[in-house]
């Protein structure tokens, strides 16, 4: 018996997940179909003209028009989206970061108050050097979303005036939002 253990309840062996037999394969999960409404279709025709000087890949996810841009172009694309009279995306709904295992994807969800259409701008960055220019000069409300993205995922938003941790305490090691950050398995002894 080692002296470091405080409780004398023996450790239970961790239960292992049941092994599925090889002949029983799970069916492939279906993909949600694209369902754009007429504002979405009108917007998807308008976007290539508005973003003609950028390298953009267009698509759709459910009822949102998706525009995938290169990370370095993000600030310029967002500024065009806000200032162009046909688009007028004046309301930034949210900035979210998703950790796909080989890359991090930064999503900018936009909405226009007068035209009532919406879109998503996506930028994929690698894990080891995730850096995107800041859009806090375009929308003042992007400030805290970027601080949160930096805190939880480690994405560096270049040009942001204040990158201190927002949600975590100073000195927290690691980026908890990433898939590689472990869960705290709490054993109740």
């Amino acid at each position: 018996m080692s002296d470091e253990r405080v409780s004398n309840v023996p450790e239970k062996p961790k239960a292992e997940a049941p092994v599925r037999p090889a002949h029983r394969k799970e069916p492939e999960a279906p993909t949600a179909p694209v369902a754009l409404d007429e504002r979405g279709t009108a917007l998807s025709e308008l976007l290539p003209k508005a973003f003609s000087r950028f390298e953009v890949e267009y698509g759709a996810a459910m009822d949102e028009v998706v525009a995938k841009v290169k990370p370095a172009d993000v600030a310029e694309v967002c500024r065009t989206a806000k200032e162009d009279g046909r688009l007028s995306f004046d309301y930034l709904r949210s900035i979210s970061v998703v950790d796909y295992v080989e890359r991090l994807e930064v999503n900018y969800h936009l909405f226009s108050m007068d035209k009532r259409h919406k879109m998503v701008i996506k930028a994929s960055v690698p894990h080891d050097s995730p850096s995107v220019p800041t859009v806090s000069g375009v929308w003042r409300g992007a400030d805290w979303y970027e601080r949160e993205g930096h805190d939880l995922f480690g994405v560096v938003f270049e040009g942001h005036p204040d990158m201190r941790p927002l949600l975590l305490y100073e000195g927290f090691e690691g980026h908890p939002g990433r898939k590689s950050f472990p869960f705290h398995e709490y054993d109740e002894w």
């Binding site: 949600a32 930034l92 709904r93 949600l167 939002g177 869960f183």
Partner: protein, 359 residues
């Protein structure tokens, strides 16, 4: 002089730290610090299945629980393209509007306390208690209801619901009028809130401010009108819009919203019919692969859920767009020319709930 309105403060509505730099009584600079209630809900959502996540969403905006549950369930239903039956929608709408009234009553009471009036809190909580007791009869819990599920609601309404609602609507009408008469046109209240903490429409939209704060600034924007969800297009209700964007406007917009919610509830009660309360869906939902962003109008503003699914029974990523998070960002703008005594009044008028700010 630096003054710390620390995480423990009677008027910060939760664990929120506001560091103020003062010159005499004027605020020169304000720096908000959040994160004292960051519980990691978004990461926990990746480990729990769709029915367990509803309990996590309950605790995000812990005053308007049903609205948060509704947002998440609607996001999952959108991915699955699920048709929720009519009766379930009516039940959801009635309960969510009741929750809006309960939330605004809490705001009313606590805002009176912030301004310095000790009576409104007792009146506000008396009305809120009536609604909470009805929730207990319907959902089984006073606060964390865990009632709205993917595909419908958990169980049907009790048999005496119609009678209880008729009595409750009358009581709430009288209660709202009483609360209105108590505080709205009181000299002291007007002195403390008129012209204080103004924000104009375009700046508010730039900051991402939504909800009653945005409507008080003059922008007519409500998710129930601009992107109608559920059955809100069947009801005839008004959207109160303010003019000056000051604290009094933000307060009065919420009082009027309570009256509009009552009108929606009356219309819904007259239109509701018997029927199934949940769609044919698996006990633990499995949406297909894809991503969906859904906005709903919670009492604080635009509550959005971004759900990324990989086809399993646990989501791949859930991002919560909390209205109080964006509303709180504008606090530095609101406090730009204020006195120290106004800081509490302005902060109270933003009606933040730290549970959803920090998640």
């Amino acid at each position: 002089m630096m003054l710390n309105m620390g995480p423990q403060h009677p008027s910060t509505h939760g664990v929120f730290r506001l560091v103020l730099w003062l010159e005499g009584e004027r605020i020169v600079r304000a720096e908000p610090h959040i994160g004292y209630l960051h519980r990691g809900s978004e990461k926990l959502c990746e480990r729990e299945d769709y029915t367990q996540i509803i309990t996590l969403f309950d605790r995000l905006d812990y005053v308007a629980n049903l609205n948060c549950e509704l947002a998440f369930c609607m996001a999952a239903e959108k991915l699955m393209a699920l048709e929720v039956p009519e009766r379930a929608w009516y039940i959801r709408t009635i309960l969510c509007e009741l929750n809006r009234i309960a939330s605004h009553m809490l705001f009313y009471g606590v805002y009176g306390l912030d301004v310095g009036a000790m009576t409104p809190v007792l009146y506000g909580f008396r009305e809120r208690e009536r609604v909470i007791l009805l929730f207990e009869a319907v959902t089984g819990a006073r606060m964390m209801h865990n009632y709205i599920r993917v595909g419908g609601v958990k169980e049907d309404l009790p048999d005496d619901f119609g009678k209880r609602m008729t009595v409750l609507i009358d009581e709430l009408k009288r209660g709202i009028d009483e609360c209105d008469a108590l505080l709205t046109n009181s000299e002291l209240f007007l002195e403390r809130t008129k012209g204080v903490g103004t924000i104009d429409g375009p700046t508010a939209v730039d900051y991402g401010v939504t909800g009653p704060m945005l409507r008080a600034a003059g922008v007519k924007e409500d998710v129930r009108i601009s992107e109608p969800y559920g059955i809100y297009d069947r009801f005839d209700f008004g959207i109160p819009v303010g003019t000056h964007g000051d604290c009094w406007d933000r307060y009065y917009v919420r009082v009027e919203e309570m009256r509009q919610s009552l009108s929606i509830i009356e219309q819904a009660m007259s239109q509701m019919e018997a029927g199934p309360i949940t769609a044919k869906v698996r006990r633990i939902a499995r949406p297909p692969r894809g991503e969906a962003y859904l906005r709903t109008e919670s009492p604080r503003g635009d509550f959005g859920v971004f759900l990324v699914s990989d086809g399993g029974d646990k989501p791949y990523r859930v991002k919560v767009r909390a209205p109080s998070f964006a509303n709180l960002q504008s606090i530095t703008h609101l406090l730009r020319d204020a006195y120290i005594a106004d800081a509490v009044v302005i902060l109270g008028s933003t009606d933040i709930i730290l549970g959803e700010v920090d998640r």
